[in-house]
């Protein structure tokens, strides 16, 4: 994989929030590329910066207090960070679109599904209202909604959580975007509905030739869905590589701890009764991040050098990189 055909290239992105409490360094020096035909995972715990990274790509950070202090996001030869808001509007929902965690809060409760689904179509595709409605019904059919002609006249409260998320997906892909950013798309849904939505996303990726950036805290979802993933901790990428490799042989102590701390249901009896390996302590305060390794206070394998300075994200093979002093020395 060469850098040339990356669809989206994020480099050295840093987003800070300047608040009365101080500077919150939500995202620091995040770089990654997304290649055609892949699902890239962003995984980490709450507050690790995975959502802010995604919002930064689409310039959806409230400014102020937020500010993109450094970095660039190259998409189709242009740096999205340098674009004005009006130029950005032509990209958002058209070439890069996003779906959010809570479908019930991201749909407008006082407008029908139809009104909301035709909006991007009329705006970006210059369709007439009638054409847009036809197209909207097509889209709803595509995402597996039964009786789309009826649903298009309904209000969000008449739909179940799973259906609302399907509507959100239909809206997001209606303009044939190149990139779909899914921020915890199934976290608010039940397991059986989650399986339906994940299946749908996988099918749409093939059919529409999409690139998906999937953000989740659920290692199961990331492990099952993505080809490559980035593990984030306290605003930085700590590990990067093909998902199967990371899950099979995690290199960063945080990734190791994370994978060990989850019980899996198909584990054997003996494994079941053992206490889980826990990561001691909590995530550092975003206003007061350590200047050495950010995982140091919780790391079981800390060495002297970890206290002295912060490790870089080092390549350890063609496809993998780790931010840890123990690796690649």
């Amino acid at each position: 994989m060469s850098n040339d055909h990356a669809i989206l290239r994020v480099s050295h992105l840093s987003t800070y929030f300047f608040t009365f409490q101080g500077i919150a360094k939500a995202v620091e020096d995040v770089s990654f590329e997304v290649y055609p035909g892949e699902i890239l995972g962003l995984v980490g715990e709450s507050g690790c910066g995975k959502s802010v990274s995604a919002l930064t790509i689409l310039q959806l950070i409230p400014m102020p207090p937020g500010k993109i202090v450094n970095g660039s996001v190259y998409f189709e030869g242009t740096d999205l960070v340098s674009l004005t808001n009006d130029q950005m509007k032509k990209i958002r929902g058209n070439k890069i679109s996003m779906i959010f965690q809570e479908p019930s809060t991201s749909l407008n409760p006082v407008l029908t599904v139809g009104t909301q689904i035709i909006e991007p179509l009329m705006l970006h595709q210059n369709l007439s209202k009638r054409e847009a409605i036809e197209m909207g019904i097509e889209m709803l059919k595509l995402v597996g909604i039964a009786g789309p002609a009826k649903v298009i006249h309904q209000y969000p409260h008449q739909l179940s959580g799973g259906m609302k998320q399907r509507v959100m997906i239909a809206m997001a892909i209606s303009c044939n975007p190149k990139v779909l950013i899914a921020d915890e798309p199934t976290t608010a849904l039940d397991v059986t509905i989650q399986a339906q939505i994940l299946d749908l996303m996988r099918a749409l990726k093939e059919e529409k030739d999409l690139v998906i950036i999937l953000i989740s805290h659920d290692l199961g979802v990331i492990g099952q869905m993505t080809h490559r993933c980035l593990v984030m901790y306290a605003g930085k990428i700590v590990e990067e590589g093909p998902t199967d490799d990371i899950f099979g042989d995690p290199c960063h102590p945080y990734t190791q701890g994370l994978l060990d701390s989850i019980p899996w249901w198909h584990e054997e009896e003996e494994q079941d009764r053992k206490p889980l390996r826990e990561i001691p302590g909590t995530v550092p305060d975003v206003f007061d991040l350590p200047s050495n390794c950010r995982f140091l206070p919780r790391c079981p394998k800390a060495m002297d050098i970890c206290r002295e300075s912060e490790p870089m994200l080092k390549r350890i093979s063609d496809t993998r990189a780790v931010r840890c002093w123990r690796m690649g020395r």
Partner: protein
């Protein structure tokens, strides 16, 4: 392990009435819990799993009579508690405690930890007011909070620490039964493991009986001895945890298990993906409540509701198709 049964629930029903029209007198019901029976042995952990709206939280509240059941009996240590008066119930509740999902909502932000944890002791007059501080310090130590932090307020603690405080609050009364309603769902994965380990070690140390309610099947398997699966207000399958996960018999349990995303099932083709949504508990389908989404459903399923039957190995299942 003592074989005595600590809690027995017989045919519990809870229907919430609602008005079908604004001015009409006609009433209809939300069938939240619709005939649940089980028993829990002393020192045993029962996991209850199910999707949202299946009635698992209502069941927890009914057992503690925080919500009055519509019908059915609850026996706690052999005593039928479904009929006793409110005052006696309050004093009984010190033996049965509840831990809630969200430690940001369940702790009063205006009270210091010292009071939050000691409140139960004060209410039930379990010890001399002078001793309260000592007892609180001891229990905080147990759950891994430094006793010198007891004058702090909830906002000064992280989510995981708050859940520890919520556990301390339940534990300080030395209850015999603790019901955890999604006790780790609001926590991050790395913190989740800390709380699960804490609950497990406390359970062993005090030989507590536990009911863990969760939608997370991985967590339930790890902590429970027995697992019950609920669907639309009913238990549709119940078995010892290994048995249930290795040999699920009900089509819903099978679908539920295959729907859990795990890295190891990547690319597995025979995943069962259920179609449609859970029917509304306001209008549960006739017959088997699962027949609308079931691949095996036949004529009988839409007419007769299957009973929970014993199929051997302590395995109970409610399905016409299981022989």
């Amino acid at each position: 392990m003592n074989d005595g049964v600590i809690l027995e629930v017989r045919d519990i029903k809870k229907y919430f009435p609602y008005r079908t029209a604004w001015f009409a007198g006609t009433r209809s019901f939300v069938y939240a819990v619709d005939g649940v029976s089980f028993s829990l042995k002393r020192g045993e952990v029962l996991g209850i799993v199910g999707e949202s709206g299946c009635g698992k939280s209502t069941l927890a509240r009914v057992i503690l009579r925080l919500i009055e059941p519509t019908s059915g009996d609850i026996f706690f240590e052999g005593q039928n508690i479904s009929k006793i008066n409110k005052k006696n119930m309050v004093s009984l509740r010190k033996q049965m405690q509840l831990i809630f999902q969200d430690p940001y909502a369940s702790l009063n932000p205006k009270l210091p930890v010292r009071y939050l944890v000691g409140e139960g002791l004060l209410v039930h007059k379990l010890c001399d007011p002078k001793e309260i501080e000592e007892r609180v310090a001891a229990v905080l130590e147990k759950v891994g909070i430094k006793p010198d932090q007891m004058n702090r307020f909830p906002h000064e603690f992280s989510g995981g620490q708050r859940q520890r405080i919520a556990v301390a609050r339940a534990l300080v009364l030395m209850p015999k039964l603790i019901i955890g309603d999604e006790p780790v769902s609001a926590l991050d994965v790395s913190i989740q493991a800390q709380i699960i380990n804490l609950l497990q070690s406390l359970q062993k140390e005090f030989n507590l009986s536990f009911i863990i309610i969760s939608h997370n099947l991985n967590v339930v398997k790890h902590v429970s001895d027995q697992v019950a699966v609920m669907y639309l207000g009913r238990i549709i399958e119940k078995a010892p945890h290994q048995e249930l996960y290795l040999n699920p018999l009900h089509p819903y349990t099978q679908a539920l298990l295959s729907a859990i995303p795990t890295p190891r099932t990547k690319g597995v083709k025979n995943r069962i993906i259920l179609e449609g949504d859970v029917p509304s508990p306001m209008e549960p389908p006739p017959g088997c409540s699962f027949h609308t989404r079931c691949t095996l459903a036949g004529e009988k399923c839409s007419e007769i509701s299957p009973d929970l039957r014993d199929v051997g190995h302590d395995h109970f299942v409610a399905c016409h198709h299981v022989v």
